[in-house]
Amino acid sequence: MTVERPTGTPVTSAGDQTRIHNIGYRTYDGPRLGRAYARRSLYSQSLRGAYGLGRSGRSKVLPMLLFAVMCLVAAILVAVTVTTKAKGLPVHYTRYAIIMQGLISLYVASQAPQSVSRDLRFKTVPLYFSRPIETADYVRAKYASLASAIFILTAAPLLVLYVGALLAKLDFADQTKGFAEGLVSVALLSLLFAGIGLVIAAVTPRRGFGIAAVIAVLVISYGAVSTLEAIADTQSSTGAIPWIGLFSPVTLIDGVQTAFLGATSSAPGAAGPGSGQGVVYVLVVLGLIAGAYGLLLRRYKKVGL
């Protein structure tokens, strides 16, 4: 609360004498929390929103369900490892996200539009920018929140796997290395998927259409790439497979982790890229992330007016 000014008896100062009427309006003179605070609030609100927290019960169903399934499958894998006393986990840390890519795509497709489309549809974006935050703050907060949400979705099952592996008394150093590699890979995946999802979702104010467009890009590109890879494999032109893999987000991440994070490729014949091609993969991933950020900035420069 601010210091109470006596109403009715206006304080006379130099400025007040130039006024015709003083009807006792007071300006806000409390603390101003500023840009960083607004950005942080927007980030945490969007992150909570991505799991339906602070929204209606219905909108909690899908994200929570997907999160539960992601962790449940990991828990089942751990249970199998413990009961069969296996020497290692049945699924490698870096492989988990590739296997569950359908669920991750669905999560991105359902949450990216809810994060940005409604602001566009109800034309609330200019209201954000009437506050201290600027275009870059909005874009950064939204991007970071969706990337964090996907990271939580993909890293939590890895944590389940890691804890389970330690409980099953698997080799500590080996598991920790695998876990760390898995975390780096899902961090890259989160940034890439969040970027692609947000760019597409930010173009359309219609939520349903945004969902369909995001899923079409993620799933169709993977479907097309894996079809082509399978055909290249049967034609025994294995050299072409790594180059084909550059054209879908999932195979991009798969290629990066095959080249640098000790994963085995999920491409047919395990024909992943070597170190040389791996550099191209990393460059493409980083280029896509930077490009997505740039496109979002450009988009919000326009709609923010």
Partner: protein, 239 residues
């Protein structure tokens, strides 16, 4: 049971601006892939069946079905402009049937025609593969449109549920649990395609009679229930 004005409005909503862009991009991609594959491998019946079955029928047709089926009614219910349509002296089932016909037509044009073209590019309709998959795409278009139109009237999150059905149920469960394949539009359509092709390249897990009966049953029931839902539609605010 068919109203030209409603049909015209639905066409414009479906093919307006960006929606037409994404609807057109998918078939284009299929044809580009077919050209690439043909250039890489030459005419090969097995490859043609793989591309048409794995990409066209399993991925492209359901996604176009979701976009056209839910897009025919979903956005209108979502932004509330459906009240202007419902307040006209038209029977609600008439509105549904009209929208269904439009959705079917759009799905067919954007999925079955490219499938035929892709099949002709891939192996010049050798062993009737192109025609068989085109028939499957045509049949699947009808069932998918009816199913997703129903979803559009039932839920505000129709697109998500439609995609969950198309991707999780048909692709994931279908490949893991054999029983799930009996309840899949894709397999029913393949049963019809199997009859057309005759060979072993196009196979299905369900018999022709089962497939055909289930296809008709799902289409009719979904359309009827969508009409009932529209009769008792309540309009609610966002979320």
């Amino acid at each position: 049971m068919y109203d030209p004005t409603v049909a015209r409005l639905t066409y414009r909503a479906l093919l307006g601006r960006r929606r037409a862009l994404i609807l057109g991009a998918l078939p284009l991609l299929l044809i580009v892939i077919s050209v690439v594959v043909r250039a890489l491998t030459g005419a090969d019946d097995q490859t043609a069946a793989d591309v048409l079955g794995g990409f066209a029928l399993a991925t492209m047709v359901p996604i176009i079905g979701v976009i056209a089926g839910t897009g025919a009614i979903g956005p209108e219910i979502d932004d509330g402009s459906v009240v202007y349509l419902l307040s006209k002296p038209l029977k609600r089932p008439t509105i549904i049937v009209t929208k269904l016909i439009v959705a079917i037509a759009v799905t067919m044009v954007f999925s079955a025609v490219p499938t035929l073209v892709a099949g002709l590019i891939l192996n010049g309709n050798g062993q009737q593969i192109a025609v068989a998959y085109t028939v499957a795409a045509l049949v699947a278009s009808i069932a998918y449109s009816a199913l997703f139109l129903l979803l559009g009237t039932v839920s505000r999150h129709a697109v998500v549920f439609g995609l969950v059905y198309a991707l999780v149920w048909e692709a994931l469960f279908g490949s893991l649990v054999p029983g799930a394949r009996t309840l899949s539009v894709q397999q029913w359509a393949l049963a019809v395609a199997h009859r057309v092709a005759g060979g072993d390249l196009v196979t299905s897990d369900v018999g022709l009679t089962t497939g055909a009966v289930l296809l008709v049953l799902v289409t009719v029931l979904a359309t009827w229930y969508a009409g009932q839902k529209l009769r008792s539609l309540t309009l609610a605010g966002e979320e």
